[in-house]
Protein backbone atom coordinates (compact mmCIF):
# COMPACT_ATOMS: atom_id res chain seq x y z
CA UNK A 1 0.00 0.00 0.00
CA UNK A 2 2.74 2.36 1.05
CA UNK A 3 4.90 1.37 -1.91
CA UNK A 4 1.96 1.98 -4.24
CA UNK A 5 1.44 5.40 -2.73
CA UNK A 6 5.10 6.24 -3.20
CA UNK A 7 4.97 5.05 -6.80
CA UNK A 8 1.89 7.19 -7.43
CA UNK A 9 3.61 10.25 -5.99
CA UNK A 10 6.71 9.59 -8.03
CA UNK A 11 4.61 9.31 -11.18
CA UNK A 12 2.77 12.55 -10.40
CA UNK A 13 6.10 14.23 -9.77
CA UNK A 14 7.40 13.05 -13.12
CA UNK A 15 4.29 14.44 -14.81
CA UNK A 16 4.81 17.76 -13.03
CA UNK A 17 8.45 17.82 -14.05
CA UNK A 18 7.49 17.16 -17.67
CA UNK A 19 4.88 19.94 -17.48
CA UNK A 20 7.42 22.38 -16.10
CA UNK A 21 9.89 21.44 -18.83
CA UNK A 22 7.29 22.02 -21.57
CA UNK A 23 6.18 25.37 -20.14
CA UNK A 24 9.73 26.67 -19.74
CA UNK A 25 10.70 25.44 -23.18
CA UNK A 26 7.79 27.15 -24.91
CA UNK A 27 7.99 30.36 -22.85
CA UNK A 28 11.67 30.77 -23.60
CA UNK A 29 11.08 30.41 -27.32
CA UNK A 30 8.08 32.64 -27.87
CA UNK A 31 9.69 35.67 -26.24
CA UNK A 32 11.62 38.24 -28.19
CA UNK A 33 15.37 38.30 -27.69
CA UNK A 34 17.58 36.18 -29.87
CA UNK A 35 20.37 34.37 -28.00
CA UNK A 36 22.37 34.06 -31.19
CA UNK A 37 22.27 37.81 -31.79
CA UNK A 38 23.76 38.27 -28.33
CA UNK A 39 26.73 35.97 -28.88
CA UNK A 40 27.78 36.80 -32.39
CA UNK A 41 30.23 39.58 -33.25
CA UNK A 42 28.71 42.73 -34.73
CA UNK A 43 29.04 42.86 -38.48
CA UNK A 44 28.57 39.11 -38.99
CA UNK A 45 27.00 38.15 -42.27
CA UNK A 46 23.43 36.76 -42.36
CA UNK A 47 24.92 33.46 -43.51
CA UNK A 48 27.02 33.29 -40.34
CA UNK A 49 23.97 33.97 -38.20
CA UNK A 50 21.98 31.30 -40.04
CA UNK A 51 24.81 28.80 -39.66
CA UNK A 52 25.01 29.48 -35.93
CA UNK A 53 21.23 29.15 -35.55
CA UNK A 54 21.36 25.83 -37.36
CA UNK A 55 24.18 24.65 -35.14
CA UNK A 56 22.08 25.15 -32.00
CA UNK A 57 18.97 23.80 -33.72
CA UNK A 58 17.19 27.15 -33.45
CA UNK A 59 16.08 27.06 -37.10
CA UNK A 60 13.58 24.25 -36.42
CA UNK A 61 9.97 24.77 -35.33
CA UNK A 62 9.27 24.86 -31.58
CA UNK A 63 7.71 21.35 -31.36
CA UNK A 64 10.60 19.99 -33.41
CA UNK A 65 13.09 21.72 -31.11
CA UNK A 66 11.36 20.24 -28.09
CA UNK A 67 11.45 16.72 -29.48
CA UNK A 68 15.12 17.05 -30.35
CA UNK A 69 15.85 18.35 -26.85
CA UNK A 70 13.75 15.67 -25.13
CA UNK A 71 15.39 12.94 -27.19
CA UNK A 72 18.76 14.30 -26.12
CA UNK A 73 17.80 14.47 -22.42
CA UNK A 74 16.65 10.86 -22.43
CA UNK A 75 20.02 9.77 -23.83
CA UNK A 76 21.94 12.03 -21.45
CA UNK A 77 22.62 14.82 -23.96
CA UNK A 78 21.43 18.17 -22.58
CA UNK A 79 22.86 20.18 -25.48
CA UNK A 80 25.54 22.84 -25.53
CA UNK A 81 25.49 26.02 -23.50
CA UNK A 82 25.29 29.02 -25.83
CA UNK A 83 27.07 31.54 -23.60
CA UNK A 84 29.74 29.21 -22.18
CA UNK A 85 30.03 27.01 -25.31
CA UNK A 86 30.33 23.84 -23.28
CA UNK A 87 28.31 20.71 -22.71
CA UNK A 88 25.37 21.49 -20.40
CA UNK A 89 25.53 18.20 -18.51
CA UNK A 90 29.25 18.73 -17.94
CA UNK A 91 28.62 22.23 -16.59
CA UNK A 92 25.83 21.00 -14.33
CA UNK A 93 27.86 18.13 -12.91
CA UNK A 94 30.75 20.53 -12.27
CA UNK A 95 28.59 23.01 -10.36
CA UNK A 96 26.08 20.72 -8.65
CA UNK A 97 28.44 19.37 -5.93
CA UNK A 98 29.07 22.93 -4.68
CA UNK A 99 25.35 23.57 -4.31
CA UNK A 100 24.68 20.16 -2.76
CA UNK A 101 27.38 20.61 -0.12
CA UNK A 102 26.05 24.09 0.67
CA UNK A 103 22.40 23.02 0.86
CA UNK A 104 23.06 19.95 3.00
CA UNK A 105 25.35 21.89 5.34
CA UNK A 106 22.66 24.55 5.71
CA UNK A 107 20.03 21.89 6.41
CA UNK A 108 22.16 20.32 9.15
CA UNK A 109 22.92 23.69 10.75
CA UNK A 110 19.24 24.65 10.59
CA UNK A 111 18.16 21.42 12.29
CA UNK A 112 20.84 21.79 14.96
CA UNK A 113 20.13 25.47 15.72
CA UNK A 114 16.36 25.13 15.36
CA UNK A 115 16.33 22.01 17.53
CA UNK A 116 18.45 23.64 20.23
CA UNK A 117 16.23 26.74 20.32
CA UNK A 118 13.10 24.58 20.48
CA UNK A 119 14.45 22.50 23.38
CA UNK A 120 15.64 25.61 25.24
CA UNK A 121 12.27 27.27 24.67
CA UNK A 122 10.42 24.19 25.92
CA UNK A 123 12.53 23.96 29.08
CA UNK A 124 12.02 27.68 29.76
CA UNK A 125 8.40 27.74 28.63
CA UNK A 126 6.95 29.18 31.84
CA UNK A 127 9.61 31.85 32.41
CA UNK A 128 10.52 35.27 31.09
CA UNK A 129 13.38 33.65 29.19
CA UNK A 130 10.86 31.46 27.39
CA UNK A 131 8.82 34.45 26.19
CA UNK A 132 12.03 36.21 25.20
CA UNK A 133 13.04 33.22 23.06
CA UNK A 134 9.58 33.17 21.46
CA UNK A 135 9.67 36.88 20.73
CA UNK A 136 13.17 36.72 19.28
CA UNK A 137 12.24 33.73 17.15
CA UNK A 138 9.18 35.59 15.89
CA UNK A 139 11.43 38.32 14.52
CA UNK A 140 13.81 35.74 13.02
CA UNK A 141 10.88 34.16 11.17
CA UNK A 142 10.34 37.35 9.20
CA UNK A 143 13.92 37.77 7.96
CA UNK A 144 14.64 36.06 4.61
CA UNK A 145 17.92 34.51 3.41
CA UNK A 146 18.64 37.49 1.13
CA UNK A 147 18.74 39.87 4.12
CA UNK A 148 20.73 37.40 6.24
CA UNK A 149 23.33 37.00 3.50
CA UNK A 150 23.91 40.74 3.23
CA UNK A 151 23.89 41.28 6.99
CA UNK A 152 26.56 38.57 7.25
CA UNK A 153 28.58 40.25 4.51
CA UNK A 154 28.58 43.41 6.61
CA UNK A 155 29.09 41.72 9.97
CA UNK A 156 31.46 38.78 9.45
CA UNK A 157 32.90 39.86 6.12
CA UNK A 158 33.68 43.54 6.64
CA UNK A 159 33.34 44.76 10.23
CA UNK A 160 34.83 41.67 11.87
CA UNK A 161 36.38 40.03 8.81
CA UNK A 162 36.47 36.43 10.02
CA UNK A 163 35.52 34.63 6.83
CA UNK A 164 36.27 35.06 3.11
CA UNK A 165 33.57 37.05 1.30
CA UNK A 166 33.55 35.26 -2.05
CA UNK A 167 34.24 31.97 -3.73
CA UNK A 168 34.38 28.38 -2.54
CA UNK A 169 38.04 27.57 -2.10
CA UNK A 170 41.40 29.33 -2.17
CA UNK A 171 42.58 28.96 -5.80
CA UNK A 172 45.99 27.68 -4.69
CA UNK A 173 44.30 24.86 -2.74
CA UNK A 174 41.95 23.80 -5.52
CA UNK A 175 44.35 21.31 -7.12
CA UNK A 176 44.50 17.61 -6.45
CA UNK A 177 40.79 16.88 -6.16
CA UNK A 178 39.33 13.86 -7.91
CA UNK A 179 35.75 15.03 -7.35
CA UNK A 180 33.99 18.38 -7.00
CA UNK A 181 32.82 17.62 -3.48
CA UNK A 182 35.63 19.69 -1.99
CA UNK A 183 34.36 19.66 1.60
CA UNK A 184 33.67 15.93 1.77
CA UNK A 185 36.73 14.89 -0.21
CA UNK A 186 39.20 17.02 1.76
CA UNK A 187 37.80 15.56 4.97
CA UNK A 188 37.98 11.98 3.71
CA UNK A 189 41.52 12.41 2.43
CA UNK A 190 42.46 14.01 5.77
CA UNK A 191 43.65 17.28 4.21
CA UNK A 192 42.47 19.32 7.15
CA UNK A 193 43.97 22.64 6.04
CA UNK A 194 42.08 22.47 2.76
CA UNK A 195 38.97 21.35 4.64
CA UNK A 196 39.21 24.38 6.92
CA UNK A 197 39.61 26.66 3.91
CA UNK A 198 36.54 25.24 2.15
CA UNK A 199 34.53 25.30 5.38
CA UNK A 200 35.43 28.93 6.10
CA UNK A 201 34.24 29.89 2.60
CA UNK A 202 30.96 28.13 3.33
CA UNK A 203 30.23 29.63 6.75
CA UNK A 204 28.38 32.75 5.63
CA UNK A 205 26.31 31.32 2.75
CA UNK A 206 25.45 28.34 4.95
CA UNK A 207 24.27 30.54 7.81
CA UNK A 208 22.26 32.77 5.45
CA UNK A 209 20.38 29.72 4.15
CA UNK A 210 20.12 27.98 7.53
CA UNK A 211 18.85 30.73 9.84
CA UNK A 212 15.38 31.28 8.26
CA UNK A 213 14.80 27.51 8.27
CA UNK A 214 16.11 27.26 11.85
CA UNK A 215 13.48 29.78 12.96
CA UNK A 216 10.69 27.75 11.34
CA UNK A 217 11.97 24.48 12.83
CA UNK A 218 12.28 26.11 16.27
CA UNK A 219 8.69 27.30 16.24
CA UNK A 220 7.04 24.12 14.97
CA UNK A 221 9.17 21.77 17.05
CA UNK A 222 8.62 23.83 20.20
CA UNK A 223 4.85 23.74 19.70
CA UNK A 224 4.95 19.94 19.33
CA UNK A 225 7.30 19.57 22.32
CA UNK A 226 5.12 21.69 24.60
CA UNK A 227 2.09 19.67 23.56
CA UNK A 228 3.93 16.40 24.18
CA UNK A 229 5.04 17.61 27.61
CA UNK A 230 1.39 17.65 28.67
CA UNK A 231 0.89 13.94 27.90
CA UNK A 232 0.38 11.27 30.54
CA UNK A 233 3.58 9.35 29.78
CA UNK A 234 5.58 12.48 30.56
CA UNK A 235 3.76 12.84 33.87
CA UNK A 236 4.59 9.24 34.65
CA UNK A 237 8.26 9.68 33.78
CA UNK A 238 8.34 12.89 35.83
CA UNK A 239 6.87 11.05 38.83
CA UNK A 240 9.63 8.49 38.42
CA UNK A 241 12.07 11.34 39.04
CA UNK A 242 13.44 11.96 35.57
CA UNK A 243 14.95 15.43 35.10
CA UNK A 244 13.16 17.97 32.89
CA UNK A 245 16.01 18.02 30.37
CA UNK A 246 15.94 14.24 30.03
CA UNK A 247 12.15 14.32 29.76
CA UNK A 248 12.36 16.68 26.80
CA UNK A 249 15.32 15.05 25.06
CA UNK A 250 14.54 11.39 25.67
CA UNK A 251 10.77 11.19 25.87
CA UNK A 252 9.02 14.17 24.27
CA UNK A 253 11.41 14.75 21.36
CA UNK A 254 10.91 11.29 19.89
CA UNK A 255 7.16 11.76 19.76
CA UNK A 256 7.18 15.39 18.71
CA UNK A 257 9.61 15.26 15.81
CA UNK A 258 7.19 13.95 13.13
CA UNK A 259 5.42 17.16 12.06
CA UNK A 260 8.71 19.07 12.13
CA UNK A 261 10.35 16.54 9.86
CA UNK A 262 7.55 16.70 7.30
CA UNK A 263 7.68 20.49 7.33
CA UNK A 264 11.47 20.55 7.12
CA UNK A 265 11.25 18.58 3.89
CA UNK A 266 9.00 21.15 2.24
CA UNK A 267 11.13 23.99 3.59
CA UNK A 268 14.31 22.31 2.36
CA UNK A 269 13.08 22.71 -1.21
CA UNK A 270 12.68 26.44 -0.52
CA UNK A 271 16.21 26.44 0.86
CA UNK A 272 17.47 24.90 -2.38
CA UNK A 273 15.64 27.66 -4.26
CA UNK A 274 17.29 30.20 -1.97
CA UNK A 275 20.74 29.05 -3.07
CA UNK A 276 20.15 31.01 -6.28
CA UNK A 277 20.41 34.45 -4.68
CA UNK A 278 22.70 33.48 -1.78
CA UNK A 279 25.27 31.96 -4.13
CA UNK A 280 25.05 35.15 -6.16
CA UNK A 281 25.78 37.36 -3.16
CA UNK A 282 28.85 35.33 -2.14
CA UNK A 283 30.01 34.61 -5.72
CA UNK A 284 29.79 30.94 -4.76
CA UNK A 285 30.25 28.74 -7.84
CA UNK A 286 27.13 26.56 -7.64
CA UNK A 287 24.22 25.94 -10.01
CA UNK A 288 22.18 28.80 -8.48
CA UNK A 289 24.74 31.41 -9.38
CA UNK A 290 25.03 29.89 -12.83
CA UNK A 291 21.23 30.04 -13.22
CA UNK A 292 21.18 33.84 -12.89
CA UNK A 293 23.86 34.23 -15.56
CA UNK A 294 22.09 31.72 -17.78
CA UNK A 295 18.85 33.69 -17.55
CA UNK A 296 20.53 37.05 -18.14
CA UNK A 297 22.36 35.64 -21.19
CA UNK A 298 19.23 33.88 -22.49
CA UNK A 299 21.25 30.69 -22.63
CA UNK A 300 18.31 28.43 -23.53
CA UNK A 301 19.96 24.98 -23.32
CA UNK A 302 21.58 25.83 -19.99
CA UNK A 303 18.35 27.29 -18.50
CA UNK A 304 16.45 24.16 -19.50
CA UNK A 305 19.09 21.92 -17.99
CA UNK A 306 19.07 23.95 -14.76
CA UNK A 307 15.29 23.94 -14.48
CA UNK A 308 15.23 20.18 -14.92
CA UNK A 309 18.02 19.81 -12.34
CA UNK A 310 16.19 21.94 -9.76
CA UNK A 311 12.96 20.07 -10.43
CA UNK A 312 14.70 16.73 -9.98
CA UNK A 313 16.26 17.88 -6.69
CA UNK A 314 12.84 18.93 -5.40
CA UNK A 315 11.32 15.58 -6.26
CA UNK A 316 14.16 13.63 -4.65
CA UNK A 317 13.81 15.69 -1.46
CA UNK A 318 10.07 15.07 -1.34
CA UNK A 319 10.48 11.33 -1.86
CA UNK A 320 13.19 11.16 0.82
CA UNK A 321 11.05 13.09 3.31
CA UNK A 322 8.03 10.86 2.68
CA UNK A 323 10.20 7.83 3.32
CA UNK A 324 11.69 9.32 6.50
CA UNK A 325 8.30 10.33 7.90
CA UNK A 326 6.89 6.88 7.18
CA UNK A 327 9.91 5.19 8.77
CA UNK A 328 9.55 7.26 11.94
CA UNK A 329 5.80 6.92 12.31
CA UNK A 330 4.83 3.39 13.31
CA UNK A 331 1.17 4.04 12.55
CA UNK A 332 2.00 4.78 8.90
CA UNK A 333 4.46 1.91 8.75
CA UNK A 334 1.97 -0.76 9.65
CA UNK A 335 -1.13 0.95 8.30
Amino acid sequence: MLALQALHRLLMAAVTLFGVAVVVFVLLRVVPGDPVAMMIAPGASPEDVAALRARYGLDLSIPEQFLVWLGGVVTGDFGTSISLRRDVLELLSERLPATLELAVAALLVAMLVGGAVAVAGTLARRSVLGSAIDGFNGVMLAIPDFVWALALVLGLGVMVPLFPLTGRIDPTAADGFSSRFYLVESLLTLRFEVFADVASHMVMPTLALALPLAAIIARVLKASLVEAMGEDYILLARLKGMSETRLVLQEALRNAVGPTLALTGVQFTFLIGGTVIVERIFAYPGIGNMAIDAVINRDLPLIQGLVLMFGLLFILVNVAVDAAVAALNPRLRHG
Binding site: L27, L141, A142, V147, L150, V276
Partner: protein, 299 residues
Protein backbone atom coordinates in the same frame (compact mmCIF):
# COMPACT_ATOMS: atom_id res chain seq x y z
CA UNK B 1 -39.58 41.09 1.75
CA UNK B 2 -37.35 38.72 3.67
CA UNK B 3 -34.43 40.45 2.03
CA UNK B 4 -35.42 43.87 3.27
CA UNK B 5 -35.95 42.61 6.81
CA UNK B 6 -32.53 40.98 6.94
CA UNK B 7 -30.87 44.04 5.47
CA UNK B 8 -32.45 46.33 8.04
CA UNK B 9 -31.24 44.09 10.85
CA UNK B 10 -27.81 43.99 9.29
CA UNK B 11 -27.67 47.78 8.99
CA UNK B 12 -28.57 48.21 12.64
CA UNK B 13 -25.91 45.79 13.80
CA UNK B 14 -23.19 47.03 11.48
CA UNK B 15 -21.99 50.28 13.13
CA UNK B 16 -21.51 48.64 16.51
CA UNK B 17 -19.58 45.77 14.99
CA UNK B 18 -17.41 48.19 13.04
CA UNK B 19 -16.52 50.30 16.08
CA UNK B 20 -15.68 47.18 18.03
CA UNK B 21 -13.38 46.06 15.24
CA UNK B 22 -11.77 49.48 15.21
CA UNK B 23 -11.16 49.33 18.95
CA UNK B 24 -9.69 45.85 18.65
CA UNK B 25 -7.32 47.08 15.95
CA UNK B 26 -6.16 50.02 18.02
CA UNK B 27 -5.74 47.82 21.09
CA UNK B 28 -3.32 45.56 19.24
CA UNK B 29 0.22 46.92 19.67
CA UNK B 30 1.50 45.03 16.62
CA UNK B 31 -1.01 46.84 14.42
CA UNK B 32 0.01 50.20 15.88
CA UNK B 33 3.78 49.67 15.55
CA UNK B 34 3.77 47.84 12.21
CA UNK B 35 1.02 49.96 10.69
CA UNK B 36 2.60 53.14 12.06
CA UNK B 37 5.91 52.39 10.39
CA UNK B 38 4.23 51.60 7.07
CA UNK B 39 2.16 54.80 7.28
CA UNK B 40 5.34 56.77 7.92
CA UNK B 41 6.98 55.12 4.93
CA UNK B 42 3.98 55.91 2.72
CA UNK B 43 4.24 59.58 3.73
CA UNK B 44 7.98 59.58 3.04
CA UNK B 45 7.36 58.08 -0.41
CA UNK B 46 4.57 60.55 -1.22
CA UNK B 47 6.52 63.62 -0.11
CA UNK B 48 9.94 62.34 -1.19
CA UNK B 49 10.92 65.49 -3.15
CA UNK B 50 10.33 67.64 -0.04
CA UNK B 51 11.89 65.23 2.46
CA UNK B 52 15.04 64.21 0.57
CA UNK B 53 17.83 66.67 1.37
CA UNK B 54 19.48 66.26 -2.07
CA UNK B 55 18.65 65.26 -5.62
CA UNK B 56 18.93 61.43 -5.51
CA UNK B 57 20.40 61.33 -9.02
CA UNK B 58 22.91 64.15 -8.72
CA UNK B 59 26.43 62.80 -9.09
CA UNK B 60 29.52 64.54 -7.82
CA UNK B 61 32.67 62.48 -8.10
CA UNK B 62 34.48 64.96 -5.84
CA UNK B 63 32.11 63.85 -3.07
CA UNK B 64 32.32 60.08 -3.79
CA UNK B 65 32.00 57.50 -0.96
CA UNK B 66 31.69 60.02 1.86
CA UNK B 67 31.09 58.21 5.17
CA UNK B 68 27.98 58.91 7.26
CA UNK B 69 27.88 61.55 10.00
CA UNK B 70 30.06 60.67 12.98
CA UNK B 71 32.91 59.20 10.93
CA UNK B 72 36.10 60.91 9.80
CA UNK B 73 35.96 62.75 6.48
CA UNK B 74 32.26 63.64 6.25
CA UNK B 75 30.80 66.62 4.42
CA UNK B 76 27.96 68.60 6.02
CA UNK B 77 24.57 67.82 4.52
CA UNK B 78 25.27 64.17 3.76
CA UNK B 79 23.74 62.51 6.81
CA UNK B 80 24.17 58.90 5.69
CA UNK B 81 27.14 59.50 3.37
CA UNK B 82 27.36 59.13 -0.41
CA UNK B 83 27.89 56.25 -2.83
CA UNK B 84 30.89 55.89 -5.15
CA UNK B 85 29.29 58.31 -7.65
CA UNK B 86 28.78 60.93 -4.95
CA UNK B 87 25.00 60.50 -4.72
CA UNK B 88 23.36 61.12 -1.33
CA UNK B 89 22.48 57.80 0.33
CA UNK B 90 19.64 59.22 2.46
CA UNK B 91 17.94 60.86 -0.52
CA UNK B 92 18.21 57.66 -2.53
CA UNK B 93 16.66 55.64 0.32
CA UNK B 94 13.81 58.16 0.53
CA UNK B 95 13.09 57.95 -3.21
CA UNK B 96 13.64 54.18 -3.19
CA UNK B 97 10.60 53.87 -0.90
CA UNK B 98 8.45 54.82 -3.92
CA UNK B 99 9.40 51.77 -5.98
CA UNK B 100 9.30 49.46 -2.95
CA UNK B 101 5.82 50.55 -1.85
CA UNK B 102 4.41 50.67 -5.39
CA UNK B 103 5.49 47.09 -5.94
CA UNK B 104 4.24 46.07 -2.48
CA UNK B 105 0.74 47.52 -2.85
CA UNK B 106 0.09 46.76 -6.52
CA UNK B 107 1.62 43.26 -6.61
CA UNK B 108 0.08 42.12 -3.33
CA UNK B 109 -3.39 43.43 -4.27
CA UNK B 110 -3.36 41.79 -7.69
CA UNK B 111 -2.02 38.50 -6.33
CA UNK B 112 -4.71 38.61 -3.65
CA UNK B 113 -7.43 39.33 -6.21
CA UNK B 114 -6.51 36.43 -8.50
CA UNK B 115 -5.83 34.02 -5.64
CA UNK B 116 -9.06 34.93 -3.86
CA UNK B 117 -11.27 34.50 -6.93
CA UNK B 118 -9.74 31.09 -7.73
CA UNK B 119 -9.69 30.07 -4.04
CA UNK B 120 -13.34 31.00 -3.55
CA UNK B 121 -14.27 29.07 -6.70
CA UNK B 122 -12.30 25.99 -5.64
CA UNK B 123 -13.63 26.03 -2.08
CA UNK B 124 -17.23 26.79 -3.00
CA UNK B 125 -17.80 24.55 -6.02
CA UNK B 126 -15.48 21.70 -5.01
CA UNK B 127 -15.38 18.65 -7.30
CA UNK B 128 -13.76 19.14 -10.68
CA UNK B 129 -13.30 22.88 -10.31
CA UNK B 130 -11.42 22.27 -7.08
CA UNK B 131 -9.36 19.44 -8.56
CA UNK B 132 -8.33 21.53 -11.57
CA UNK B 133 -7.38 24.59 -9.51
CA UNK B 134 -5.56 22.55 -6.87
CA UNK B 135 -3.51 20.71 -9.49
CA UNK B 136 -2.56 24.05 -11.05
CA UNK B 137 -1.42 25.35 -7.66
CA UNK B 138 0.67 22.22 -7.13
CA UNK B 139 2.47 22.53 -10.47
CA UNK B 140 3.05 26.21 -9.74
CA UNK B 141 4.62 25.49 -6.39
CA UNK B 142 6.99 22.84 -7.77
CA UNK B 143 9.21 25.70 -8.88
CA UNK B 144 11.83 27.58 -6.83
CA UNK B 145 10.25 31.05 -6.49
CA UNK B 146 13.48 33.02 -6.85
CA UNK B 147 14.47 31.17 -10.01
CA UNK B 148 10.95 31.51 -11.41
CA UNK B 149 10.84 35.25 -10.76
CA UNK B 150 14.20 35.79 -12.44
CA UNK B 151 13.08 33.62 -15.35
CA UNK B 152 9.81 35.53 -15.69
CA UNK B 153 11.45 38.93 -15.59
CA UNK B 154 14.02 37.78 -18.13
CA UNK B 155 11.15 36.67 -20.36
CA UNK B 156 9.00 39.77 -19.82
CA UNK B 157 11.96 42.15 -19.96
CA UNK B 158 13.34 44.17 -17.06
CA UNK B 159 11.20 46.93 -15.54
CA UNK B 160 8.65 47.75 -12.88
CA UNK B 161 5.71 46.17 -14.71
CA UNK B 162 7.58 42.92 -15.18
CA UNK B 163 8.59 42.79 -11.52
CA UNK B 164 4.97 43.27 -10.45
CA UNK B 165 3.74 40.75 -13.02
CA UNK B 166 6.32 38.21 -11.87
CA UNK B 167 5.30 38.55 -8.20
CA UNK B 168 1.61 38.23 -9.08
CA UNK B 169 2.19 35.24 -11.34
CA UNK B 170 4.20 33.45 -8.64
CA UNK B 171 2.41 34.37 -5.42
CA UNK B 172 -1.31 34.15 -6.24
CA UNK B 173 -1.01 30.52 -5.08
CA UNK B 174 -0.47 31.61 -1.46
CA UNK B 175 -3.86 33.32 -1.45
CA UNK B 176 -5.56 30.61 -3.42
CA UNK B 177 -4.57 27.86 -0.97
CA UNK B 178 -5.61 29.74 2.15
CA UNK B 179 -8.86 31.16 0.74
CA UNK B 180 -9.81 27.73 -0.62
CA UNK B 181 -9.37 26.06 2.76
CA UNK B 182 -11.15 28.88 4.58
CA UNK B 183 -14.05 28.89 2.08
CA UNK B 184 -14.46 25.14 2.46
CA UNK B 185 -14.67 25.54 6.23
CA UNK B 186 -17.13 28.43 5.99
CA UNK B 187 -19.32 26.64 3.42
CA UNK B 188 -20.09 23.96 6.01
CA UNK B 189 -21.26 26.51 8.61
CA UNK B 190 -24.86 26.84 9.68
CA UNK B 191 -25.20 30.43 8.51
CA UNK B 192 -24.54 29.34 4.95
CA UNK B 193 -27.22 26.66 5.19
CA UNK B 194 -29.56 29.28 6.68
CA UNK B 195 -28.88 31.70 3.85
CA UNK B 196 -29.55 28.92 1.35
CA UNK B 197 -32.80 28.02 3.08
CA UNK B 198 -33.95 31.63 2.96
CA UNK B 199 -33.33 31.41 -0.78
CA UNK B 200 -30.26 33.56 -1.34
CA UNK B 201 -28.57 32.80 -4.66
CA UNK B 202 -25.15 31.12 -4.40
CA UNK B 203 -23.24 34.13 -5.68
CA UNK B 204 -24.83 36.41 -3.08
CA UNK B 205 -23.98 34.01 -0.26
CA UNK B 206 -20.43 33.78 -1.55
CA UNK B 207 -19.80 37.51 -1.83
CA UNK B 208 -21.92 38.86 1.02
CA UNK B 209 -21.69 36.09 3.62
CA UNK B 210 -18.63 33.92 3.00
CA UNK B 211 -16.20 36.57 1.74
CA UNK B 212 -16.52 38.86 4.80
CA UNK B 213 -15.72 35.89 7.01
CA UNK B 214 -12.67 35.02 4.93
CA UNK B 215 -11.56 38.67 4.95
CA UNK B 216 -9.58 38.73 8.24
CA UNK B 217 -7.27 35.92 7.14
CA UNK B 218 -7.04 37.46 3.69
CA UNK B 219 -6.10 40.89 5.03
CA UNK B 220 -3.33 39.44 7.20
CA UNK B 221 -2.04 37.53 4.21
CA UNK B 222 -2.01 40.65 2.02
CA UNK B 223 0.16 42.40 4.58
CA UNK B 224 2.61 39.49 4.68
CA UNK B 225 2.64 39.41 0.88
CA UNK B 226 3.56 43.08 0.75
CA UNK B 227 6.66 42.27 2.80
CA UNK B 228 7.51 39.44 0.42
CA UNK B 229 6.98 41.72 -2.59
CA UNK B 230 9.40 44.29 -1.17
CA UNK B 231 12.05 41.57 -0.82
CA UNK B 232 11.46 40.15 -4.30
CA UNK B 233 11.75 43.63 -5.82
CA UNK B 234 15.01 44.14 -3.93
CA UNK B 235 16.34 40.77 -5.14
CA UNK B 236 15.45 41.57 -8.75
CA UNK B 237 17.00 45.02 -8.44
CA UNK B 238 20.07 43.38 -6.91
CA UNK B 239 20.39 41.09 -9.92
CA UNK B 240 19.82 44.08 -12.21
CA UNK B 241 16.43 43.00 -13.58
CA UNK B 242 14.14 45.59 -11.98
CA UNK B 243 13.65 49.24 -12.95
CA UNK B 244 16.36 51.02 -14.96
CA UNK B 245 19.41 52.02 -12.98
CA UNK B 246 18.61 55.76 -12.97
CA UNK B 247 15.62 55.16 -10.65
CA UNK B 248 16.81 54.73 -7.07
CA UNK B 249 15.76 51.40 -5.52
CA UNK B 250 16.82 49.78 -2.26
CA UNK B 251 17.86 46.61 -4.07
CA UNK B 252 19.90 48.58 -6.60
CA UNK B 253 21.64 50.46 -3.78
CA UNK B 254 22.31 47.16 -2.00
CA UNK B 255 23.86 45.69 -5.15
CA UNK B 256 26.04 48.76 -5.54
CA UNK B 257 26.95 48.64 -1.85
CA UNK B 258 27.83 44.95 -2.07
CA UNK B 259 30.43 45.75 -4.73
CA UNK B 260 32.11 48.56 -2.81
CA UNK B 261 31.50 47.04 0.63
CA UNK B 262 35.18 47.23 1.62
CA UNK B 263 35.42 51.00 1.34
CA UNK B 264 31.77 52.04 1.56
CA UNK B 265 29.84 49.73 3.91
CA UNK B 266 27.16 52.40 4.49
CA UNK B 267 25.96 52.19 0.89
CA UNK B 268 24.92 48.60 1.71
CA UNK B 269 24.08 48.94 5.41
CA UNK B 270 21.45 51.71 5.40
CA UNK B 271 19.23 50.50 2.55
CA UNK B 272 19.48 46.98 4.00
CA UNK B 273 18.38 48.28 7.41
CA UNK B 274 15.38 50.13 5.94
CA UNK B 275 14.46 47.09 3.84
CA UNK B 276 14.59 44.83 6.92
CA UNK B 277 12.52 47.22 9.03
CA UNK B 278 9.92 47.47 6.27
CA UNK B 279 9.61 43.70 5.98
CA UNK B 280 9.37 43.35 9.77
CA UNK B 281 6.69 46.07 9.86
CA UNK B 282 4.57 44.33 7.21
CA UNK B 283 4.91 41.07 9.13
CA UNK B 284 3.94 42.69 12.42
CA UNK B 285 0.97 44.39 10.82
CA UNK B 286 -0.18 41.12 9.28
CA UNK B 287 0.21 39.26 12.55
CA UNK B 288 -1.58 42.02 14.45
CA UNK B 289 -4.45 42.16 11.95
CA UNK B 290 -4.96 38.42 12.28
CA UNK B 291 -5.08 38.65 16.06
CA UNK B 292 -7.33 41.72 16.15
CA UNK B 293 -9.81 40.61 13.49
CA UNK B 294 -10.13 36.95 14.41
CA UNK B 295 -12.93 36.74 16.98
CA UNK B 296 -11.61 33.43 18.33
CA UNK B 297 -8.10 34.73 18.90
CA UNK B 298 -9.45 38.01 20.31
CA UNK B 299 -11.16 36.17 23.13
Amino acid sequence: MADAGLDAAGARAAPRRRSRTGAALLAEPKVLVGGGFILLLVLVALFAPWIAPKDPLEQDLMLGTLPPVGFAGTEPGYLLGTDDLGRDVLSRIVFGARVALTVAFVAASLAALIGTVLGLAAGWFGGRVDAAISRLVEIWMAFPPVLLSILLVAILGAGLHSVIAAIVIIDWTRFCRVVRAETMAQARMDYVTAARTVGFPGFTILTREVLPNVAPVLLALVSLEMGIAVIVEAILSFVGLSVSSDTPTWGGMIAQGRQIVHHGWWVLAFPLLVLTLTVLAFNMLGDGLRRALDPVMRR
